[in-house]
């Protein structure tokens, strides 16, 4: 082997080493990228599973609310029926009040009439006798 050949071999060895180093660096970069991608993948999957679980929770809550709403509606209906019954009772009361007022006026009119007064005057001796006998 002459000197030129030895130098050429050394050069190619250095080139190969440099190439190897470059490849190793590239590999390291690629590995880091893979790791980042794997982390991103983990996060994405966690997000999707977590969101699905949250939706499940919301569905349960939604169903609970619907049930509560149904109960509330029933309660409101019962309440409205009760109010209606109260209103009817009040109307009845008003009607009987009006009737009573009419009857009271009629009574006043009777008491003030001449025939009632004459009747009472005619009956005075009878009332006196009743008081004495009692």
């Amino acid at each position: 082997m002459d000197d030129n050949q030895a130098v050429a071999a050394d050069l190619s060895k250095i080139e190969l080493q440099a190439e190897l180093l470059l490849s190793r660096n590239k590999l390291q970069v690629a590995e880091e990228k893979i790791m980042h991608l794997e982390l991103a993948l983990l996060q994405s999957r966690d997000f999707s599973i977590g969101t699905a679980a949250e939706m499940g929770e919301m569905r349960v809550e939604h169903n609970t609310i619907i049930e509560k709403l149904k109960d509330a509606n029933t309660h409101i209906k019962n309440h409205l029926a009760h109010i209606k019954r109260l209103e009817e009772a009040m109307a009845d009361l008003h009607r009987s009040n009006a009737l009573q007022r009419g009857q009271a006026a009629e009574l006043v009119r009777v008491y003030n009439s001449a025939s009632w007064k004459i009747g009472r005057f005619v009956m005075i001796p009878v009332r006196i006798l009743r008081k004495i006998s009692s």
């Binding site: 893979i34 790791m35 794997e38 982390l39 993948l41 983990l42 996060q43 994405s44 999957r45 966690d46 997000f47 999707s48 599973i49 977590g50 679980a53 949250e54 499940g56 929770e57 349960v60």
Partner: protein, 517 residues
């Protein structure tokens, strides 16, 4: 449509008072669409045959067959099954009692789940004097627990066609013939429903299995045999034994493969006094993993916060020179993010998250947990964690009443409700302080959620696994110390609770595997 329920009762010399109570509870059922198939296995007491004939004459729903020779409980039960015409079989022993609503509850359950194949309920025991005790609050279908104990037992109801398909009761399992049958049935179906009500009263007469766990040792030998055969059919290699001290079947899975495990430890190099000695927690944890673990194929990835003393990193490298990877973390504290970064820096199929304030007790802790996680539908496995003083720190998670570590603060010697602290079982979650997770499952659910930087990240990922149909196993056979302060205040922010509730509120106080507090 109400199903016809066929009650199956093999009869052999029952105590007369108990048999009369049994008859009383069947005839008093609210649900009327039943038939009762009784087979006398050649009882020696003459009154038995007379009484059975009386019953048959009394009600046309009663079918009686008198065997000419004693064939044992398996033969008698199978003969009784042959008499049935109903869509479902209800098993009732000749000295036990049904709750008055038992059949009604079963019929309601069948109507609500038309494809159900196997139903079981809670049960209690009853003394000769009729006093109830020992109520067994059971989990929903828990196959791992079922390998250790026949917890389904009474009341059991199964679809007749499936019962016939699996070959009814088998000889050679006397005393555990029902366990063997249930194992074969549950291999064939996933349509299994638990009715969380006491529908069966198991009479504790002297010598019965109900009265003393060691009254029928032969039954436990048969139970171990049933489990062994079950595992063989499922092609699971395991050493199956019966533990007489615990009255449990123990299953020790033998690993045929040893997949690589990446142990991920997030740390900031905290020091604490352990057993009276000032210790760097993470160095202690790594050292104990390195020195005590018998599992060979693992690496340790320590995710180190910026600001961790350089000496800590140097010490870590010294105690674990060959399989340690240090990952620097220079973002604001987020436990979940640190875990995720640890995972993406590993390539192992199994990930084991470990807090830096832990120390290994069981040398085979990794093997034990790997043994469970290799099952296809298991995503997460956790061990028994103990405080420094030996009390329980966590025996899995429980969501009953509130989210908490199950049995925290109790002695590690206690057995728990029906020995649930001494057997591997399904749980709703395990603490992130030590959790083995399948990498694929971890990626499938999106890993640890970064919206929980401190608390509840382990609960959240467990709920995600459950949501996708995975099982989570807790085992008492892997034990570690967790040097968390036993008096640590619950450092949970209301916003974190709100966040968890927004995702998983419906799962809180609705724990399918742990219904006892």
């Amino acid at each position: 449509m109400t199903p016809l329920l066929s009650i199956v009762t093999p009869v052999y010399d029952p105590p007369r008072y108990a048999f009369e109570k049994c008859i009383e509870t069947v005839f008093a059922q609210e649900f009327k669409d039943w038939e009762w198939c009784l087979v006398d296995d050649c009882s020696t007491a003459p009154w038995v045959k007379t009484r059975l004939n009386e019953l048959q004459a009394l009600d046309q729903r009663v079918k009686v067959y008198l065997r000419s020779e004693n064939g044992g409980i398996v033969a008698a039960s199978n003969d009784a099954i042959s008499l049935t015409t109903g869509e479902f079989i209800v098993l009732l022993d000749n000295d036990d009692e049904l709750h008055l609503d038992a059949l009604e509850e079963v019929a309601t359950c069948i109507n609500a789940n038309p494809i159900v194949d196997y139903i079981y309920s809670d049960e209690d025991k009853i003394t000769e004097d009729g006093e109830h005790f020992d109520e067994f609050v059971k989990p929903d279908w828990s196959p791992e627990r079922f390998l250790a104990q026949n917890y389904c037992s009474h009341l059991s109801v199964m679809r007749t066609s499936l019962l016939n398909e699996v070959g009814r009761f088998r000889n050679g399992f006397d005393g555990a013939q029902d366990y063997d049958l249930f194992l074969r049935i549950t291999e064939q179906t996933k349509n299994i429903v638990h009715i969380p009500k006491v529908l069966y009263h198991w009479r504790a007469v002297p010598g019965s299995t109900a009265s003393a766990n060691n009254a029928k040792l032969y039954a436990y030998t048969a139970a171990a045999k049933a489990v062994d055969e079950h595992l063989k059919r499922r092609r699971i290699t395991a050493e199956v034994k019966f533990d007489p001290a615990l009255s449990l079947v123990t299953v020790n899975r033998q690993l045929t493969e040893h997949p690589k495990v990446s142990i991920i430890i997030p740390t900031c190099g905290t020091r604490k006094s352990i057993f009276g000695v000032d210790t760097c927690l993470v160095v202690n944890a790594v050292e104990s993993v390195e020195r005590r673990s018998t599992y060979a194929n693992f690496e340790i990835i320590v995710v180190v916060d910026k600001g961790t003393p350089p000496q800590v990193v140097a010490d870590l490298k010294a105690v674990c020179p060959n399989r340690l990877k240090i990952i620097d973390y220079d973002k604001p504290f987020n436990f979940s993010d640190k875990c995720n970064i640890g995972v993406v820096n590993s390539d192992a199929p199994l990930i084991l998250f470990l807090n830096d304030d832990t120390e290994i007790i069981s040398p085979d802790w990794i093997e034990t947990m790997v043994g469970h996680i290799i099952e296809e539908d298991v995503a997460m496995v956790g061990p028994m964690l103990l405080f420094e003083d030996g009390r329980i720190q966590s025996a899995g998670h429980s969501n009953t009443h509130s989210l908490h570590n199950f049995c925290t603060g109790l002695s590690s010697n206690i057995f728990g409700h029906f020995r649930m602290l001494k057997l591997a079982r399904e749980v709703s979650g395990v603490t992130g302080a030590c959790a083995l997770i399948k990498r694929d499952a971890y990626f499938e659910v999106g890993g640890m959620s970064e919206i929980y930087p401190l608390a509840f990240n382990d609960c959240d990922i467990a709920f995600k696994f459950l949501e996708l149909g995975y099982r989570i196993i807790w085992t008492p056979n892997a034990r570690l110390f967790h040097f968390e302060s036993a008096t640590r205040p619950a450092n949970v922010k209301p916003s974190e609770v709100k966040l968890l509730m927004s995702r998983w509120g419906r799962k809180i106080n609705n724990d399918q595997y742990c219904k006892v507090h």
